[in-house]
């Protein structure tokens, strides 16, 4: 996650795993089968932890990570499902509230917030191979 690499010295990051968006026993999508991401909705904490650990291992996910409890306390408090981004400032106030994913899930808005505070982090453009004449 490029934003994490760019701003981890300025901001803390936390990923919270919440209830599955497209489990096999609810709204499974074709892309889940194609990507071999097929899980039933966890009914207990150990199942939820197992899926979260699979996710971490598969993507070698670098961000600090936690798992919502089976009462879905964090999900309910933050209207998090299926995915959503927030920034909490140093005073414990909501500084940014992203929209409901996937259609309104915009990491670029988080980057813009961080860039406004800490400056933009620019990356060299990836040069495409020039056509041989």
């Amino acid at each position: 996650m490029q934003i994490f690499d760019d701003y981890k010295d300025h901001a803390d990051f936390l990923t919270v795993y919440v209830r599955e968006a497209h489990p096999t026993d609810e709204w499974q999508m074709k892309s889940n089968v194609k990507d071999d991401v097929c899980y039933a909705q966890p009914r207990n904490l150990s199942d939820r932890l197992a899926i979260a650990n699979d996710f971490i291992k598969r993507f070698k996910y670098p961000l600090p990570f936690g798992v919502d409890d089976m009462k879905n306390a964090a999900n309910d408090a933050y209207a998090a499902w299926p995915e959503r981004l927030y920034i909490i400032d140093e005073n414990g106030k909501i500084a940014y509230r992203g929209g409901m994913g996937p259609f309104h899930y915009h990491p670029a808005e988080v980057r813009a917030w961080l860039a406004t505070r800490y400056g933009e982090v620019k990356h060299p453009e990836v040069k495409t191979e020039e056509k041989k004449s």
Partner: protein
Amino acid sequence: MRNIFIWVGISLGALLVIAFVALSVMAGGPKDALYMVRYALPHMHRGNLRVGDSAPDARIYALDGAETFHIRERTGAKPLVVVFGSFT
């Protein structure tokens, strides 16, 4: 008068069909459109947090399941970017 009701009914039916087709295209298929109505629509207006509100606290499990921490414990020193999501 009867004709008006018939045309209103036809128009509403046509609108529903158009809406369902549009939703199907957006969701990826008719089945996904139905699932979207069932699973996603109820969530679309959930939550009333606004910028400037106090961030709610919640207990979070560490990946080993043995330890827990609170979101509030992770705030204070720097801004905290919180990413909510799942595997699927």
